[in-house]
């Protein structure tokens, strides 16, 4: 196990270094941020001054090594846009994103697993058809569209939930619901497929021959086996959310890392972009590791 963790850590570190290299040089190709921060009418002198302050005048390779030198001391640099440490800006947004991901994915998993299992138990039945139809529709509708329609209906017309923002539990209802739809549809399909396989397996036949009731057959015997492929997809979906639910965050005014990322990219706030990518990448690597560990917990045959 320790050996496995070590190997994974090394692999993640390699990926991270590759990522840093790539992002650093590629993002610098998207132009000079100076114009974005100074007024249109700023003089060339002022522009040079600005570049000097932010180290943009040095050759790219020099910039890179000085960035790496700082990075080794866990100094991610300052945000140009906010004039505060980039890592602070990112961690603030990431805390929100992490919560949002956690809440959304927890609900998705619970509901997708329950509905998917029930659909699989009676393939071709009414429940199965309804669940399949709505999950497919849900998985193919543009989320920003749903989000705005939801605000118009539930906040303005009905006044049930606040339109946007954070603060109380009620502020979370709509962003979570909208984010919920797509992974729910997708994971429900996967659960259904995996459960059909599991319910047709030999050990389920054994359980029936033993006189086990239907509910434990579905949720004890079949489900734990069916979860293995499902977890992979859950991981992918959670990773997508961790990378930022940009559209939803910007509509609902949710101060997550996705919105931060897109703003920073458009504003060429490179230090924040780099820090945000590193933080989310680390989170994704850690999550993948957790998933592997979860595998071995769920399936005693898997040992690292």
């Amino acid at each position: 196990m320790l050996n496995f963790l070590g190997k994974r850590a090394v692999a993640s570190a390699i990926s991270l270094v590759g990522l840093v290299l790539l992002v650093f040089f590629l993002s610098r190709l998207t132009g000079d941020p100076t114009g974005l921060y100074l007024p249109l009418d700023a003089s060339e002198e002022a522009r040079n001054q600005f570049r000097e302050i932010h180290g943009l005048n040095d050759p790219l390779i020099v910039q890179f090594f000085s960035y790496m030198a700082d990075l080794i001391r866990f100094d991610f640099g300052d945000s140009i846009r906010r004039s505060e440490p980039a890592i602070d800006v990112v961690m603030r947004g990431f805390a929100w994103t992490l919560q949002l991901t956690f809440v959304t994915m927890s609900l998705v998993v619970v509901f997708a697993v329950i509905f998917g299992s029930l659909a699989a138990f009676n393939v071709g039945g009414v429940f199965d058809r309804i669940a399949t139809f709505f999950s497919l529709i849900g998985a193919s509708a543009p989320d920003f569209w749903i989000a705005i329609v939801a605000i118009v209906i539930f906040s303005v017309k009905l006044g049930w939930f606040p339109t946007s923002g954070t603060g109380t539990v009620w502020h979370w209802v709509m962003p979570v619901s909208v984010l919920f739809i797509r992974p729910f549809g997708l994971i429900l399909q996967i659960v259904r497929g995996a459960m059909i396989t599991a319910l047709g397996s030999a050990y389920v036949k054994t359980a029936r021959a033993k006189g086990i009731k239907n509910r434990p057959i579905i949720f004890v015997h079949a489900l734990r086996n069916a979860l293995l492929p499902v977890i992979t997809v859950i991981g992918d979906q959670a990773a997508a959310l961790l990378n930022g639910a940009v559209v939803i965050e910007s509509i609902f005014g949710f101060p997550g890392v996705g919105k931060l990322m897109i703003d920073s990219i458009l504003q060429r706030d490179f230090t924040v972009v780099m820090a945000a990518i590193m933080v989310t990448a680390m989170a994704i690597f850690v999550m993948n590791l957790l998933i592997d560990i979860l595998y071995s917990i769920l399936d005693p045959r898997i040992r690292y």
């Binding site: 114009g35 974005l36 100074l38 249109l40 003089s43 800006v89 339109t163 910007s250």
Partner: protein
């Protein structure tokens, strides 16, 4: 359903109702279109920074009122001492919210700070670019300010200068602004909200609004919905299509002017007939009340009608496709390469409906017979093309831009847009350079006349660019407030002017 879930639903409804009532008593919530990156008074000409700080936290030396003209604020009076020097007498008994007394030292420091090379202060760069400002403290409440070159409108320029305490750092932005205004800056929860509350030691009249919360939503529909749902009181800026409720939605001229910048050096745009055809090809009237709001004015110059020197006699180019085609033919006959592909460049999210506007323009130009392609680009890319140095091998381009001048004097616009040395100028015309120089140096009626002459020359003689519209903005205001947006709402929101019904 169990009893538990009943309770759950009931409490859900109960607390949902509570949101409607959240905006209450004498506090207001303002919903802005984007989060403030910095809360620095010397950059409060950025519109969202201005809406929070300008005259609420930080006050200026003088104040420009679009109706009455220049008014005293922190300075009670001023006089021209000659040679570019003006003397300002400051108000007595004014204290900063941290308790220190505001005096001439603070004004002098603010002037130095806004030009500090170590921070990119918006005000310094935007209004004092190319001008040396020195100050001389006469006594605690009297200060001489000298501009080189001399600025006849220095008192007006001083209406942009926010006064910060003398210990404000010269090399970094402040994150907790302190000013003399009617409000104090309480808290900035990054990513979420800013709160202000009334300053009990304010030198002036105590405002009605006792506290204010600013939140940020990038989507116009959401901002409008928040005011409609009672979660916010003012959305200073919403899109035309969201302004559907006459009881809540107010339009105001927002001092923005939309135009297409032409770089005269590029063929075929170097030909006056082609530029005229570009102007004649646009059916400006058709935009108003459709893509753009009712009340949008057709522009003849780059500054709105409230600016001095605005020439009301200039007539916008009327839609005349036949004449436009004829001009093109004429130019073609003279060997002008009129079939060269012209790139029409628009900036995404520049204003509501910018896309529709650009597409409509493209269709109109293609209708006349221009070979034109449209490119919509994000702001960084747009800047690369709009500001000097222009990119290599760019070919002929029409660049859409929106210019804001709410300060009442064209000087803030003309040099940068039309002078040969101007950062965004597409002209190299010695005559224009000379006219700008003269008008800048002039005062009073002479100044207005000289600006008028320049407007006329650019519009009729040179046909410098394709002037389009003076824009209209929309605000949504909760009906419990007594507040009407004005041209200044584009860049500031004085909470002290808000009353309750």
């Amino acid at each position: 359903m169990t009893r538990k879930t009943h309770l759950f639903v009931a409490s859900a409804l109960a607390s949902a109702v509570a949101f409607g009532a959240q905006a209450q008593d004498n506090s207001v919530t303002v919903v802005l279109s984007e989060e403030l990156e910095i809360v620095e008074p010397c950059s409060s000409t950025k519109s969202n920074v201005g809406r929070v700080l300008f005259q609420n936290i930080s006050e200026t030396v003088t104040e420009m009122d679009p109706k009455t003209g220049l008014e005293p604020r922190l300075a009670e009076s001023w006089e021209d001492m000659g040679n570019g020097t003006w003397r300002f007498s400051l108000r007595q008994g004014v204290t900063f919210s941290d308790g220190t007394v505001m005096d001439a030292e603070d004004v002098a420091h603010s002037l130095v700070r806004m030009k500090s090379p170590d921070i990119a202060c918006e005000i310094g760069a935007k209004f004092f670019g190319g001008i040396d400002i020195t100050s001389n403290i006469i006594d605690a409440h009297t200060i001489d300010v000298t501009a080189d070159p001399a600025q006849p409108i220095l008192p007006m320029l001083m209406s942009t200068v926010t006064v910060t305490p003398q210990d404000a750092p010269l090399d970094s932005f402040v994150d907790h602004p302190i000013g003399t205004g009617p409000y104090t800056f309480d808290e900035y929860v990054r990513g979420q909200s800013i709160t202000l509350s009334a300053n009990p030691t304010y030198w002036g009249e105590q405002p009605t609004v006792q506290s204010a919360t600013y939140v940020f939503r990038s989507d116009s529909a959401v901002r409008a919905a928040m005011v409609a749902a009672g979660e916010a009181d003012i959305a200073p800026n919403i899109a035309l299509q969201d302004a559907v409720n006459p009881a809540m939605d107010f339009s105001y001229p927002n001092s923005e002017t939309v135009f297409l910048r032409i770089e005269h050096a590029q063929a075929p745009l170097n030909d006056r007939r082609v530029r005229e055809a570009l102007n004649l090809a646009v059916d400006r009237e058709a935009f108003v009340g459709t893509i753009l709001a009712d009340g949008t004015l057709l522009a003849t110059g780059i500054t709105p009608p409230s600016t001095i020197g605005y020439d009301a006699d200039l007539k916008p180019y009327a839609y005349d496709p036949d004449r436009a085609r004829a001009l093109l033919e004429e130019a073609r006959a003279d060997g002008v390469p009129v079939d060269t592909n012209i790139t029409l460049i628009g900036r995404t999210n520049n204003f509501a409906n910018v896309l529709e506007t650009m597409e409509a323009l493209l269709a109109m130009y293609q209708e006349i017979g221009f070979t034109m392609t449209l490119e919509m680009v994000e702001v960084a890319e747009w800047l690369e093309r709009y500001a000097k140095p222009f990119p290599e091998n760019r070919g002929p381009q029409l660049i859409e831009a929106q210019h804001d001048n709410a300060n009442g004097d064209p000087v803030f616009s003309m040099y940068f847009k039309y002078h040969s040395e101007g950062q965004q100028s597409g002209l190299t015309d010695p005559k224009v350079d000379a006219m700008i120089a003269e008008a800048t140096a002039a005062t009073g009626d002479e100044r207005a006349a000289k600006w008028s002459a320049l407007f006329g020359y650019l519009h009729e003689e040179s046909i410098a660019d394709v002037m389009l519209f003076h824009m209209v903005g929309f605000s949504r205001v909760n009906e419990r407030l007594d507040f009407a947006p004005s041209i200044r709402t584009n860049s500031e929101l004085q909470l002290s002017q808000i009353k309750f019904k």
